[in-house]
């Protein structure tokens, strides 16, 4: 009997999800023994043409990481959807947009202007910039089209499961793969796998008190106490708006959560959830005082939506001049 087929693909990503899979350490041998890995461009010989030649639905499980940034990413999303029985958005980029998603607070033109014309080390007197098709003396060269916005995988194709995290933590990856390898019944399509059903605060372990904040601190401004809630101490921590499952690793290392496991369960928009959370803990009623406290929060949009901008309600910066 042939082994179930597994594919792993990376779109606009950093490679951290690949390393996370390998950080299951010696268990990777069990995984490789159970599955027939039919496509994994970072490690194996199979080409796009090989995937095209596969029968539709013949890949039993595809773990797709990375956001949809350009036309090649999108093409592979459609191709792998067609060829896969079960396709999971693996990691924060595929699920929510993650760090590349911060580009949605810019435009393609602004990005190109910065990268190819404005950075101080760029020497480009002829104002050259990359183009999808270029004539060279010998013929024509092409590269993928860079889209205006970053999108999540679920915004371009139907996705069966979502595995959050930047990256998904290896013990969670192992739990998901082991369940599949043991033939466990998978939850309904659209479910989140490899994560908890609460917020990061559940896994944190620091003592929490009633919060009445008169000011906020940037992380470098103070040395916070190690056993008290960071938000209690005035440091913005995304824990209250973030799904559990990572083990609260950052907070245990005395750094505030930044929300890489995505929105808490039943929350559509992680950023405005944090708006509510922060608003609840400010101890002021006068608008002027409230505003001066809010002035101490640096970059609310980029902090509350650090990992989830493309999957948010507003999705990207609008063109309105403000």
């Amino acid at each position: 009997m042939s082994k179930p087929k597994l594919a792993l693909y990376w779109a606009a990503s950093c490679g951290g999800c690949e390393i996370a899979v390998l950080d299951v350490e010696e268990k990777i041998l069990d995984v490789a023994g159970f599955f027939d890995i039919v496509f994994w461009p970072c490690a194996m010989d199979f080409k796009y043409k090989d995937v095209e030649a596969m029968a539709d639905g013949s890949i039993d499980l595809c773990l797709f990481n990375g956001a949809i940034r350009n036309s090649e990413n999108e093409a592979l999303a459609h191709l792998l959807r067609k060829k896969s029985k079960v396709l999971a958005a693996f990691g924060s980029c595929a699920m929510d947009g993650c760090i590349p998603g911060l580009a949605n607070l810019s435009t393609r033109e602004e990005i190109f202007q910065t990268v190819y014309h404005q950075t101080p080390s760029t020497l480009n007197p002829e104002a050259i910039r990359p183009l999808p098709r270029v004539a060279v003396p010998e013929g024509e060269l092409d590269i993928p089209t860079f889209y205006e916005s970053v999108r999540t995988l679920g915004q371009v194709i139907p996705v069966d499961y979502f595995i959050p995290g930047c990256p998904p933590q290896p013990p969670q990856i192992l739990a998901v793969l082991s369940a599949i390898m043991q033939g466990a019944q998978l939850p309904p399509a659209g479910s989140v796998l490899g994560a908890g059903e609460k917020t990061c605060c559940e896994e944190c372990g620091r003592t929490r008190n009633e919060k009445r904040l008169k000011r906020f601190y940037r992380p470098w401004e103070i040395e916070p106490k190690v056993d008290e809630c960071l938000l209690d101490q005035g440091i913005v921590c995304m824990g209250p708006a973030t799904r559990s499952g990572c083990g609260a690793l950052c907070v245990k290392a005395n750094m505030p959560c930044r929300g890489c496991y995505g929105a808490a369960p039943n929350v559509a928009d992680q950023g405005v959830k944090m708006v509510s959370a922060i608003a609840s803990v400010i101890d002021a009623q006068d608008p002027a005082e409230i505003n001066s406290i809010l002035d101490q929060i640096a970059d609310p949009a980029g902090t509350f939506y650090r990992f989830s901008l493309p999957s948010s309600i507003l999705y990207r910066k609008q063109a309105e001049v403000v």
Binding site: E109, V272, K273, P300, L314, E320
Partner: protein, 156 residues
């Protein structure tokens, strides 16, 4: 041909105890108030989750108006202060997203203030009219991506 004047679509969240009653008063007193406000009654201005504001904008609203009880008069003690803090922070987020924070207004209208209700609605409608339509809902459509493609091809 006469140019059609832009009629802003505004979603209004009115709290049950004060501003919704104030709106009723404006109505029964026959005080003129622009029809642009689509009213939704909530028990308290503190019920308005920031995501409601964003959803309204996403679904086609050009502005969102929230009205609650005056500070100190909230039926639930502090609900209106929660609303105030939330909306002040949300305005900053809107600015970062390139949406004018002037499209979101929080104001206090009591049950007895039919005039004030009409006045706030009129002011806000004109403010949003001056800002123009928002067209947020189109940004998610594939056409926007294609427009990006065309622009890139055109640069060739």
């Amino acid at each position: 041909m006469e140019q059609t004047r832009f009629e802003p679509r505004i979603v209004g969240f009115l709290c049950n105890w004060c501003s919704y009653t104030g709106a009723d008063l404006a109505g029964t007193s026959r005080i003129k108030s622009p029809p642009n406000i689509r009213s939704i009654r909530v028990m308290c201005s503190g019920r308005v989750d920031p995501s409601f504001v964003l959803r309204a904008l996403q679904l086609g609203a050009d502005g969102v108006l929230i009205m609650g009880c005056h500070p100190g008069d909230c039926h639930y003690q502090e609900g209106n202060f929660k609303a105030l803090r939330r909306m002040l922070l949300l305005k900053r987020i809107l600015q970062q997203f390139g949406v004018s924070e002037r499209r979101l207004r929080l104001d206090w209208v009591s049950a007895a203030e039919g005039d004030k209700f009409a006045q706030v609605c009129t002011e806000f409608t004109e403010e949003v009219r001056a800002l123009g339509p928002l067209h947020l809902e189109t940004s998610l459509l594939p056409q926007a991506q294609e427009a990006g493609l065309e622009a890139q091809e055109a640069a060739l």
